[in-house]
């Protein structure tokens, strides 16, 4: 894996000085992180707006759904679970599975009393 050519120490930006190839490379690598960033900010804005205005009863259900989507985005895109080997996906999935059991069984008890 160790190549002969050293890493690009010379790339200091500014963006204007990058050639078309470097720009294309940059776009390809940063597209997913920037889209993820925008999606997370948008979903946070939804939750903050709901939390600040409390537009209807049981708004917390929507807020928790929005959080679930945010967590899924971080796991699948930022933490790249979708691209990991099956064993890593199993580990990550099992962690949340145990959390679901912990939450589900405990809250079933408290909510059913």
């Amino acid at each position: 894996m160790i190549g002969e050519r050293g890493p690009r120490d010379d790339v200091v930006t500014p963006l204007r000085s990058l050639g078309p190839e470097d720009r294309a490379l940059l776009r390809r690598h940063l597209r997913a992180p920037i889209l993820t960033f925008l999606a997370l900010l948008g979903l946070l804005a939804v939750n903050v707006t709901l939390g600040a205005t409390l537009p209807f009863a049981h708004v917390w259900v929507v807020e928790l759904l929005v959080v679930t989507v945010m967590v899924a985005i971080i796991l699948l895109v930022s933490m790249e679970v979708r691209r990991e080997p099956p064993l890593v996906r199993l580990f990550a999935g099992l962690g949340f599975f145990w959390v679901a059991i912990l939450m589900g069984m405990t809250l079933t008890d408290y909510l059913a009393r």
Binding site: P7, A32, L64, V67, M70, M79, R83, M103, T106
Partner: protein, 223 residues
């Protein structure tokens, strides 16, 4: 590691195999699996705290609401934005490391550490404001603002345990990140240890994920 086409490392970027691994691929898998094993234990730790918050909400709705109204909602929201920004800069550092753009990577790592530090400063301000408002029930020498509602102590104490534990993880993360940045700035780092950036990135994104959960569970749903 079965990454997408954009994640394939550039020339001069790689991992130096250590003796007890048969291949570099095996070494990369082991590192990612190891950090995930640890992150899962961290997830269970924080999940238990969040579960207690939800139980308190079910058992003492009025007390929890009264206590949550004293939390600094907008500081918490700004801090969430700060951590989401830090996740972007960490993802950029990982992308630059794969591209072999070492200096850009180091700058992205420094930006990540700076944003993490900004989070801690804002959290410190929040704690100070809580102190000024007599919202620290564990301080025996200082009267507690909601003393007439004893159940609020449960939620407020839980808030401090959860947020300070998260803050401790963030502080540790910033320290490790700065140490790694110092090493990553040296010539030849990316040809030997590129996967360190990816493995560390998982930890940083996980800290972000925990706060993404903590903010609504503590600040938002209880309003």
């Amino acid at each position: 590691m079965s990454r997408g086409a954009e994640a394939q490392p550039a020339a001069g970027v790689g991992v130096a195999r250590v003796a007890h691994f048969a291949t570099v691929e095996q070494q990369r898998h082991a590192a990612v699996l190891g950090i995930w094993a640890w992150l899962v234990t961290e997830l269970l730790l924080f999940a238990a705290l969040f579960l207690v918050a939800l139980i308190l909400r079910v058992q003492h709705p009025e007390a929890v609401r009264a206590a949550a109204l004293h939390l600094k909602f907008w500081v918490g929201a700004v801090n969430t934005v700060v951590l989401i920004c830090s996740s972007l800069t960490m993802s950029m550092a990982i992308a630059f490391s794969r591209m072999g753009w070492q200096r850009a990577m180091v700058r992205a790592m420094l930006a990540t550490a700076a944003l993490g530090s900004l989070f801690l400063v804002l959290k410190g301000y929040e704690y100070y404001a809580d102190y000024e408002e007599h919202m620290m029930p564990f301080l025996t020498v200082r009267p507690y603002a909601l003393a007439e509602t004893p159940a609020t102590r449960l939620f407020v104490n839980l808030y401090y345990v959860a947020t300070s534990l998260h803050g401790l993880h963030l502080f540790t993360g910033i320290s490790i990140l700065l140490g790694m940045t110092w090493m990553a700035a040296k010539p030849g780092f990316l040809s030997r240890h590129q996967n360190w950036i990816e493995v560390y990135g998982l930890y940083w994104h996980f800290i972000d994920l925990i706060w993404i959960l903590a903010f609504p569970i503590l600040y938002v749903v209880n309003r």
